[in-house]
């Protein structure tokens, strides 16, 4: 084998090795994979909170049922589900290189997120007005206030963070610093926040309706 053959052979081997090393896991880009890993970890956090909530609720005989109306929570659910659709439209617009369209849909998503947060805080204020706090509950066990405000507060924190992220990513996307992949990754986070709400609503609100 000549030196030239060795050289060519060596180059091919290095090239193949590089290809293997840079192949992304599950053909998913690194940033998107990082978001999926975050979602897996965060779903464990929410699951832990909801399981703990269920544990306390199940072990407390005089658990209160303070919710008299589903109007507010139904409206919040509708808003959050709709925001997932507008986020999808934003991602699709970004994939089509429609920058104004993507920016518009993401901003609509952010506005819906703000509306959700406002309704959530309004509901909190109503409950606080009735005397429910983290450590006090006028309807019975104080554990209710701690569990309710912890679970819904963690979700509200995620919504607030998501709104900030949406606005920041949309502005940077419009300025050309971010691309469609970044929009899609932010969208993954937003859908996850929506997904968590699908479990919070029945477990925290609907099972505690006053009949």
């Amino acid at each position: 084998m000549s030196q030239a053959d060795l050289s060519i052979h060596g180059q091919v081997s290095r090239s193949e090795a590089t290809e293997v090393m840079t192949a992304p896991t599950f053909s998913v880009p690194a940033k998107k994979m990082a978001m999926w890993l975050f979602i897996i970890a965060d779903s464990a956090t929410f699951a832990g909170c909801l399981v703990a909530y269920g544990f306390i609720r199940n072990a407390t005989p005089d658990w209160p049922r303070p919710f008299h109306s589903i109007t507010n929570v139904a409206l919040m659910t509708f808003i959050l589900l709709t925001s997932s659709l507008t986020m999808l439209l934003g991602v699709r617009s970004a994939e089509q290189d429609d920058k104004p369209g993507a920016f518009r849909w993401i901003m609509i998503t952010a506005v819906l997120g703000i509306a959700f947060a406002v309704l959530h805080i309004r509901e909190w204020m109503g409950m606080i007005g009735e005397g429910a706090t983290l450590f006090h509950n006028p309807w019975g066990t104080p554990a209710f206030g701690a569990a309710f405000f912890s679970v819904t507060g963690l979700h509200l924190l995620h919504v607030t963070g998501g709104v900030i992220a949406l606005i920041a990513v949309a502005i940077r996307y419009q300025g050309g610093r971010y691309n469609a992949d970044d929009i899609e990754i932010t969208g993954l986070y937003w859908h996850f926040v929506d997904l968590v709400w699908m479990f919070v609503v029945p477990l925290v609100y609907l099972l505690n309706l006053a009949h």
């Binding site: 599950f26 053909s27 998913v28 999926w36 979602i39 897996i40 779903s43 464990a44 699951a47 832990g48 399981v51 269920g54 544990f55 199940n58 072990a59 005989p61 589903i70 139904a74 659910t77 509708f78 589900l81 709709t82 997932s84 659709l85 999808l88 439209l89 699709r92 089509q96 993954l188 859908h191 996850f192 929506d194 997904l195 699908m198 479990f199 609503v201 029945p202 477990l203 609907l206 099972l207 309706l209 009949h211």
Partner: protein, 103 residues
Amino acid sequence: MAATEAHKSNGIGKDVAIYVCLLVLAGIQFVIAYQSITASQMFVRMLSVAIIEGGLALLFFMHLSENRGLMWFVLIFTVAVILGMQYGWTDSFRLVDGVPWAK
């Protein structure tokens, strides 16, 4: 160009269909809340609907259906962790019922 537009249109159509399904499923949860059934029956029914909702969101909104490898990776890890958290329920019932072997 026309094919791209058609693909975009189909994609949006599917997204809207999934969105409507999610709205209907969320509505079913609210209907279940007003049924005259026990709390445990209500819990099982609502959780079942929530799992279907979550599955639809994962598969279609988060596009997991387009990547089988990633889908199994996410599901296996997440479900394993969530199932691992269920070990304490017997204690939860023990606190309420006070079964003899708990003393």
